[in-house]
């Protein structure tokens, strides 16, 4: 039985906006599952319903078989949550915040203190422990927020853009902490725009657009869905005119997509241009998650 089972979830706001339109997902214990999609796709609405902050128009959400639409309090007991917006606690020191949330989530005083100390150590926040949330940098605030989400045992941890503003070193610590949680059986639902991290760390993902899931699966499986397209990365001298079969990407100079059927033509053209000294190096590979994402959400993606 999946830990989190969402079936035919519909959320229509009073103003008529259809934010979720028949979403179904089943997420297993210990799975690291990602929700991807452009702004306004319906990811936050989905999380809001999961946490019992919003009421679905139709459909069901179950955690370990418990109907959390009927019992939103149960969902809040089972879910640790890091919101996308920084937790605005102005003058609260980082260690005070983690400790207080641990207590609010039901840990005893001694347990809360031990968990707080462990997380401060783990996320290398010792030098910031007495820094107020107002004075801390964006990355440190994010890590403190992450610590509050995981300070107490939870069946599911929902992390909305956890690595935003976090420096590369601490980002690694954070991913290590997430990996450890998974090993202990915690299910992680990650809302992210970071496709590189999604490709690297997620077990499975769903791409949401206009309130619907347009793709779902493991990153590797999703890549095979779009095998009709290949990616070409070229290091060229100035003045290279791309072959007509190549689709240029305005934001990524030297990067092209082309149809699998044109592989022979493109390969011959690449060899010719290399001999002519116009191409220094090139690489042809499968599409990245970014390609899958772009193919899934369309050209109007921000």
């Amino acid at each position: 039985m999946p830990v989190l089972d969402i079936q035919s979830l519909v959320k229509r706001y009073r103003n008529g906006t259809m934010a979720n339109d028949g979403i179904s997902l089943a997420i297993e214990e210990g799975e690291l599952f990602g929700l991807l999609g452009p702004n306004g796709a319906g990811k936050t609405t989905l999380v809001g319903q999961l946490l019992g902050l919003l009421k679905p128009t139709a459909g069901s959400i179950q955690i370990d078989g418990v109907d959390v639409v009927a019992r939103p309090g149960y969902a809040r007991e089972q879910i640790g949550f890091l919101p996308q917006a920084q937790v605005a606690m102005d003058d609260v020191h980082i260690d005070e915040l983690i400790f207080a949330v641990a207590r609010l989530r039901g840990l005893s005083r001694s347990e809360a203190r031990a968990r707080t100390e462990a997380l401060i150590e783990r996320l290398q926040l010792s030098q910031f422990r007495a820094t107020s949330m107002r004075a801390a940098s964006g990355g440190v605030r994010r890590l403190a927020g992450f610590a509050t989400a995981v300070v107490a045992p939870a069946r599911i941890v929902v992390l909305d853009e956890p690595t935003n503003d976090v420096d590369p070193l601490r980002r690694r610590l954070l991913w290590d902490a997430i990996a450890e949680m998974r090993e202990e059986g915690t299910t992680v639902l990650l809302v992210t725009h970071n496709l590189h991290e999604a490709e690297r760390f997620l077990d499975r993902l769903a791409i949401i657009e206009h309130g619907r899931i347009v793709r779902e699966g493991a990153p590797a499986d999703l890549r095979s869905v779009v095998t009709e397209r290949l990616r070409l990365e070229v290091t060229a001298t100035n003045g290279l005119q791309p072959h007509p079969a190549l689709d240029c990407e305005p934001d990524r100079p030297g990067s092209y997509l082309f149809d699998n059927a044109d592989l022979v033509i493109v390969s011959s053209w690449l060899e010719e241009r290399r001999k002519a000294g116009e191409i220094v190096d090139f690489r042809i590979g499968p599409p990245s998650l970014e390609d899958i994402y772009a193919a899934s959400v369309g050209a109007d993606t921000p």
Binding site: E77, D91, L97, R105
Partner: protein, 245 residues
């Protein structure tokens, strides 16, 4: 037991989150009440001891009104806008504990103004107080009632700007058009009737009844009305937080 732990931790968290502001908020509140006591003296000239007692108890009530009906709604409206309210809603905590923790913050922030207001009145107008232990019930009940009313306004109001406008207008109303600082009989009938519907009228009456021997007070009635307002507004605020859009 869990409720008490949550209430205690939430109160601590709210106070810690404004630790650098507590002093300045208290100072503003003290300046506000002292300004009223001295200012009315300049306005009316020779204020009798009884008029001074009326004014002083009204100003002490006003210290609660300022925090409960202006700062509390603005604080909560900001919490809504900044996502802090939703963050607390996402935690497995009692909604009533959350509201009560905010009201405790109102009490803490009001106390310096109440005490300093009474002391300033005693010193400036030679007010002789007739202190009843009931004041220990009156002040928390007034805070629950006025702060709960403020919380309900903030939570039901759709926008921060609207909340700010309502709270600023309410303070103006309670200073100039309500029987808090002014005797009820000096107000036109329409304002008397309006005042009968609002909790600050009963808070001022209960404060007067428990601190002075002024005539025309109705302690039991005021306590009952304040209790009713407190229960109703906390229930409305908690239900609004609990409600899923």
């Amino acid at each position: 037991m869990r409720f008490l732990t949550q209430y205690f931790e939430l109160t601590r968290l709210q106070l810690l989150s404004m630790r650098s502001d507590v002093f300045i908020i208290s100072l503003i509140n003290i300046a506000f009440v002292a300004g009223f006591i001295f200012g009315f003296g300049y306005l009316f000239g020779d204020v009798s001891s009884r008029a001074g007692a009326f004014l002083t108890t009204g100003v002490a009530t006003n210290a609660i009104i300022v925090v409960g009906l202006t700062m509390m709604p603005q604080f909560l409206a900001e919490a809504k806008q900044q996502g802090r309210l939703d963050y607390f809603r996402s935690l497995p905590i009692s909604r009533e504990a959350y509201i009560l923790s905010l009201l405790t913050v109102v009490l803490v922030l009001s106390l310096p103004g109440i005490v300093l207001g009474l002391l300033t009145g005693w010193w400036r107008y030679d007010v002789s107080f007739d202190i009843s232990p009931v004041i220990l019930l009156v002040v928390p009940l007034a805070v629950l009632s006025l702060g709960g009313f403020g919380a309900a306004i903030a939570i039901l109001s759709p926008r921060l700007q609207l909340t700010n406008a309502i709270s600023q207008l309410s303070i103006f109303y309670f200073i100039f058009f309500a029987p808090v600082l002014l005797p009820r009989e000096n107000l036109p009938t329409a304002l008397q009737r309006t005042a009968d519907l609002l909790p600050p009228t009963y808070a001022a009456d209960a404060v007067r009844a428990s601190l002075t021997d002024l005539e025309g007070t109705h302690l039991e009635r005021s306590l009952l009305v304040l209790l009713g307002f407190a229960v109703a507004s906390i229930a409305v605020a908690a239900a609004s937080i609990r409600r899923r859009a």
